[in-house]
């Protein structure tokens, strides 16, 4: 399992961040000890709450912000001191940043013109990319005459047309509505598969990150909390922040009773002792921990599922969401617990105020040191 900041995944070290730090005001660090290793052709997402420093990392990569300390290496060459226009990095901006005074074709031709490519080559490349984004008929329009999704596609094509070593996308779909966003996600994935470029994608939308990425670097407070593939991130979060940020989770506060190997016995506020997988909590008795269990891994007794532990709770509310049901429970100390059930004949019939036992397996619950 990864510990924050170091990743030993098999990688060809195409893009490397080595202990990169950034401070805007010479007082506080916005990015702290940032380490990352990206393979060529990989789709890597930086996922983190707003203000966590994602844009800052991208800007340092693109060369628009200086690196306070540390190194960024692209294809084993340090680029920290290279001017932005020499880095050959494509960039897709959240608000598209299309040139409003140029037609779509001129926008696409811009990076090629700057590179003084022959006219015929520019024309054929522009035509090829217009076809690729399925906007052949729109070459002569200006950006103002396109819809949001079309603009986004043009911005994408413009960032790809000069065959950059790396493509950076800073919340590129943030301005689109949900349906269009899903369409564009597929569009980006399609182009990524077809052209095989390396992507650093920034988003604060975890669903987007989970569906699109090869790997996700969960980012908070200037530090990578965990960098792993979506399924690992969801099923084996390496700390409480990741467990909370990715998907839905219940958190039970408790204290360590006993630790053996990677299983911890934890006493929760009801007085019951539960067993959970030990992740990053202390191992001496009376260390405070928080146990994370996903709503779909909790079951109400009686049940056919295996289980290692049980806690007694009281039902406070039940929410009907169509294809599934959500049960809201409360512990005596006020901790809330959500349980998710498929809405089928197996869904338990219990009434508000009933006391029931919730059960779960040790491998589905994780003991973290509290956030």
């Amino acid at each position: 399992m990864n510990t924050p900041g170091t990743f030993n995944d098999a990688s060809d070290h195409y893009l490397q961040f080595k202990a990169v730090q950034k401070s805007y005001d010479q007082v506080t660090l916005v990015v702290k000890d940032f380490n990352l290793d990206v393979s060529q052709g990989e789709f890597l997402t930086l996922l983190g709450p707003s203000g966590s420093g994602k844009t800052t990392v991208l800007m340092m990569m693109a060369g628009f912000e200086s690196v306070t300390s540390g190194d960024i290496l692209l294809d084993k060459h340090p680029i920290t001191r290279t001017a932005p226009y020499r880095r050959n990095i494509g960039m897709v901006f959240q608000n598209y940043a299309l040139f409003p005074h140029m037609s779509i074709a001129e926008n696409l031709a811009y990076p090629l013109k700057v590179r003084k490519k022959p006219k015929a080559e520019i024309e054929s490349q522009v035509a090829r990319f217009l076809a690729l984004i399925e906007l052949e008929a729109f070459g002569n329009r200006t950006p103002g005459q396109l819809s949001g999704g079309q603009r986004q596609r043009v911005a994408l094509a413009r960032a790809l047309i000069f065959n950059p070593s790396l493509v950076l996308m800073d919340e590129p779909l943030g301005a689109l509505d949900k349906k269009l966003r899903e369409q564009m996600q597929l569009e980006i994935l399609r182009l990524h598969k077809k052209l095989g470029f390396t992507v650093i994608y920034v988003t604060h939308d975890q669903t987007e990150a989970l569906t699109m990425s090869d790997r996700i670097a969960v980012f908070n407070d200037g530090v990578v909390q965990q960098c792993a593939s979506p399924d690992v991130l969801y099923e084996q979060p390496s700390n409480a922040f990741v467990a909370d940020f990715i998907g839905e989770n219940n958190f039970l506060p408790g204290v360590v009773e006993h630790v053996s190997d990677d299983i911890a016995d934890i006493k929760v506020s009801t007085g019951e002792v539960i067993r959970a997988t030990r992740v990053d909590c202390g191992d001496s008795g009376s260390d405070k921990v928080t146990v994370a269990i996903r709503p779909e891994k909790l079951f109400i007794l009686p049940t056919d599922h295996e289980y290692d532990s049980a806690i007694t709770v009281k039902l406070t509310d039940r929410l009907y969401v169509g294809d599934f049901l959500r049960y809201f429970f409360e512990l005596p100390d006020g901790t809330e617990i959500v349980v998710k059930y498929l809405n089928d004949h197996a869904a338990p019939r219990i009434a508000v105020g009933d006391e029931v036992q919730l059960v779960f397996r040790a491998r589905d619950s994780f003991a973290f040191s509290p956030m």
């Binding site: 693109a62 932005p84 020499r86 040139f99 005074h101 811009y110 990076p111 000069f162």
Partner: protein, 418 residues
């Protein structure tokens, strides 16, 4: 792009059509009612004065009203020989009447413009005629006039009278364009001083220099303002707007204090031993240009600022990420996007400075005078309203022509003030 199936659009019935028309008309009437006060104001404050000005440039009834009888008698006169006694008798009577009503000075002034030296001739003759009876003048006025001044024997003064007596005249326009009619009535370049064309050229030149100075100072400033944190930008904006809040006169006077021979600039330079002799800066073209640049700077900065404020800062970054060097990115991406504000600012400054009056009048001396100062001179000092109106009309034509050129090459739709 599908725009809907046109066959699916349903036609309105006759009755619906009439109702829709009525509704439209009601809306239009309401909109009109809202702008009626403005239209009235515009008419009285704008259309009427400009119309009057244009009319005055060709309509000059002063002399015709002063000596109507003489002019009538002169109608048949060919202009080659001296007019006959009947005309002179009429003039004698007219002059007497003018002398009595104290209007001979006005006539003298008007005729003098066409034939310098006529003023004293007319005034002295009129004084003499005043003492005679109408009877005597009607019969022997001609002799008395000839006795009164030898210059009545010159054909030029009669030509001048006839010319000045024309109610509709192109004379002012010819004068304003430094042209004149020779004895045969053909238009030619005026042999005496070429004043006005040169002055127009100088005015345009100075307006151009002022516009460029404003652009040079204003563009970076507007860029800074548009990209600064809002707190700094607001403070700086107040500084930019400060000139708007202080009286124009105060600001211009401040420039006098700065630029005069013993002024702040000269004393400082001398104290620093950069110069030994004070430099003459006040009452020159330089002082006009520098003071007007200062005064007109906000007109450049404001439209530029508002346009730059709307430019997405990531455009420049996008251009650089695609491989453009900062200067090339600026020229190919930023500059074209500021063009609407730049045109608006430049056009504003240029047009305002072409017609500017007060600052050149105060700090320009003779060197830094612009066309408006000569217009003011003709209105206030030489009382030549006709010429003033003509010069003003030509200025208007000039500005419209410049605007047309601008529209033709850049497009007026590109102007953006906010």
């Amino acid at each position: 792009m599908s725009t809907g199936n046109p066959a699916a659009v349903e036609k309105l019935s006759r009755r619906e059509y009439v109702l829709a028309q009525r509704e439209l008309r009601r809306k239009k009437m309401f909109a009109l009612a809202l702008v009626v006060p403005l239209l009235l104001f515009l008419f009285f404050a704008f259309v009427a004065p400009i119309g009057t000005m244009l009319y005055r440039g060709v309509y000059n009834p002063v002399v015709a009203e002063l000596i109507p009888d003489t002019l009538q008698a002169l109608e048949q006169w060919e202009g080659q020989t001296l007019p006959d006694d009947a005309v002179l008798n009429r003039l004698a009577l007219d002059l007497k009447r003018l002398a009595q009503t104290r209007k001979s000075g006005k006539l003298a002034e008007e005729i003098n413009r066409h034939w310098p030296g006529a003023s004293s001739v007319i005034k002295s003759t009129a004084r003499r005629m005043k003492r005679q009876t109408d009877e005597a003048l009607l019969n022997g006025g001609a002799d008395m006039i000839r006795v009164a001044n030898k210059k009545w024997q010159r054909v030029e003064i009669w030509r001048a009278i006839k010319k000045a007596g024309q109610v509709y005249t192109d004379g002012y326009y010819l004068t304003a364009l430094d042209l004149e009619r020779n004895a045969d009535g053909d238009i030619q370049q005026r042999e005496s001083a070429q004043i006005y064309i040169k002055l127009y050229q100088k005015t345009l030149w100075m307006a151009l220099v002022i516009t460029f100075s404003c652009l040079l100072l204003g563009y970076p400033l507007a860029y800074y303002l548009a990209n600064a944190p809002s707190k700094t930008a607001n403070l700086m904006m107040i500084l930019v707007l400060l000139p708007f809040w202080t009286s124009l006169l105060v600001r211009t006077t401040a420039w006098i204090a700065l630029l005069q021979t013993n002024g702040v600039v000269n004393s400082t330079l001398m104290a620093l031993k950069i110069i030994n002799q004070p430099i003459e800066m006040l009452y020159t073209e330089f002082s006009t240009i520098i003071a007007m640049t200062h005064i007109l700077l906000p007109f450049m900065v404001l439209p530029l600022f508002s346009v730059m404020k709307g430019i997405d800062p990531s455009l420049m970054r996008a251009a650089q990420s695609m491989g453009a060097k900062p200067i090339s990115a600026f020229i190919s991406v930023y500059l074209p996007n500021t063009l609407p504000g730049l045109s608006a600012g430049a056009l504003l400054v240029f047009i305002i400075s072409v017609g500017y009056y007060i600052t050149p009048a105060l700090v320009g001396g003779t060197d830094g005078q612009m066309i408006s100062n000569i217009i003011a001179f003709h209105m206030q000092q030489s009382n030549n309203w006709g010429l003033a109106a003509t010069l003003g009309s030509l200025l208007l034509v000039l500005i419209l022509a410049l605007y047309w050129i601008y529209d033709h090459f850049i497009g007026a739709s590109n102007i953006k003030l906010g």
